[in-house]
């Protein structure tokens, strides 16, 4: 159990940094947004990992069973809404990328900067 816990946190860190690498190192704007999505998913994973209680179950009551341990509902609520907000903001980002492509004819960062300098 100890190892699984640390493994969850490590996967969170690794995913976070893979997303971060895509955002800082890649020049393609869509690739950057994909990286941002991975980064975001890593944060979701951290929250949901923290909501877990060992031996617990999903926080939905049932009349048949009593004395059950429930996982923490609060991080789940935050992440549930964050996922939908995340897709909306990603869509907004994609909209901006499409407009950039139409104005500059490119979605590669260095080419856009080149055009801007002229």
């Amino acid at each position: 159990m100890e190892f699984l816990g640390l493994y969850h946190y490590w996967v969170f860190v690794v995913l976070l940094m893979i997303g971060f690498y895509a955002v800082v190192a890649k020049l393609n704007l869509i690739k950057k947004l994909i990286g941002l999505s991975i980064f975001q998913s890593a944060v979701f994973l951290l929250y949901i990992t923290m909501s877990k209680v060992s031996g617990g179950t999903a926080p939905i009551f049932s009349e048949q069973v009593s004395g059950v341990l429930y996982s923490n509902p609060l991080p789940q609520v935050l992440i549930l809404t964050a996922i939908v907000v995340g897709i909306s903001t990603t869509a907004l980002g994609l909209g901006i990328v499409v407009r950039i492509k139409e104005e500059y004819g490119s979605i590669e960062e260095h080419e856009i900067q080149e055009i801007d300098r002229q």
Partner: protein
């Protein structure tokens, strides 16, 4: 068993993420991102977050993939430039990774019931939900009632993003202009000429819609609610649009109806909040909506969940249509 499955899923997540970043083909990257979402949804499910898993599966694996593909169709499918300063970036990222990894050793043990996150308001929510709200799903109770303000804010963020995409992408329309569906037209729009996708989607679409409505109205008793239902219903319409053509989908649910859904949902949520004041309670306090405070809470949650579902459906479909109606340059 769960431990083995958990480790396997997490490892697959990392492998998928690395593949996404490494590939130069953006189409492949988007498809892998869909798999990534599905894997992380399975992970959420193992971690007892059924509501979150449902949302991630519907939004991440379904709608997000379609939106990225729509953007790819309007831009380009390949990443052209090689990555500059690759080793510098890798060094910075590795350094940051090591620092955060070091911090994980100070985190409370995984699943520890004594961790600080489980001490604050969460036990109170779990204890008081049957008494105050009287519904089995605590996640829905917290989302709709205890933290209704947060959710109201999120709904308006979604609404604003929808408006923003429409604003960015509605300038230049298709030059042909005629967006009305013409049944005599022989050229195939969508995938109508492909028999297998056509048959499968025609069989599936009604059931996806039905499942969306079930998730909407059963959200108080099981995993579900407005956010998930909105994403599922939007996914059903997007599937219809992909197969039958966007024009036909707009005939079934025109843009004016989507606008009404977007605005109506946000207004319904806000209106229920204001009703609280008018009836002599606080904003978003539903106790006064019915004779008995518990039924009032339940009525309030049903109404605001309906508002959330309407706004999410309207916004996601509007965004999809905004991308689909754009002419590739």
């Amino acid at each position: 068993m769960t431990v083995v499955l958990g480790v396997l899923l997490l490892t697959l997540l990392v492998i998928t993420a690395i593949a996404i970043v490494r590939t130069k083909n953006l189409f492949v990257a988007v498809m892998l991102l869909g798999i990534f979402s599905l894997l992380i949804a399975a992970n959420f499910f193992i971690l007892d977050a059924a509501d979150v898993a449902l949302t991630e599966a519907a939004v991440g694996a379904g709608i997000s993939t379609v939106l990225f593909l729509g953007a790819l169709a309007l831009t380009s499918e390949f990443e052209r430039a090689p990555t500059p300063h690759r080793w510098l970036s890798l060094a910075v990222v590795t350094g940051a990774t090591l620092v955060v990894l070091y911090a994980t050793f100070d985190k409370p043990a995984f699943g520890d019931p004594g961790a600080p996150v489980h001490q604050h308001v969460a036990p109170w929510y779990l204890q008081k939900t049957p008494e105050f709200v009287g519904i089995p799903n605590v996640v829905t109770a917290v989302l709709g009632s205890f933290r209704g303000y947060d959710t109201l804010g999120e709904v308006f963020v979604v609404f604003t993003a929808g408006i923003g995409v429409r604003f960015l992408l509605s300038g230049r329309r298709r030059p042909t202009g005629g967006r009305a569906y013409d049944p005599t037209q022989k050229t195939s729009i969508g995938l109508r000429s492909h028999v297998i996708p056509l048959v499968v989607s025609r069989l599936l679409t009604p059931f996806i819609l039905l499942f969306g409505l079930y998730v909407q109205f059963h959200g108080e008793y099981g995993p579900g609610g407005g956010f998930q239902a909105g994403a599922l219903i939007a996914a059903a319409f997007i599937l219809y649009a992909l197969i039958e053509g966007e024009e036909r989908c707009l005939e079934v649910l025109p843009q004016s109806a989507l606008n009404a859904l977007m605005v109506g949902g946000a207004l319904l949520y806000g209106g229920v909040g204001v009703m609280g004041i008018l009836l002599g309670a606080d904003v978003l306090d539903y106790s006064m909506l019915a004779a008995d405070p518990v039924s009032g809470q339940q009525l309030g949650i049903i109404l605001i969940e309906a508002g959330v579902g309407m706004t999410v459906t309207g916004v996601l479909l509007s965004i999809f249509h905004a991308f689909a109606a754009r002419d590739p340059t």
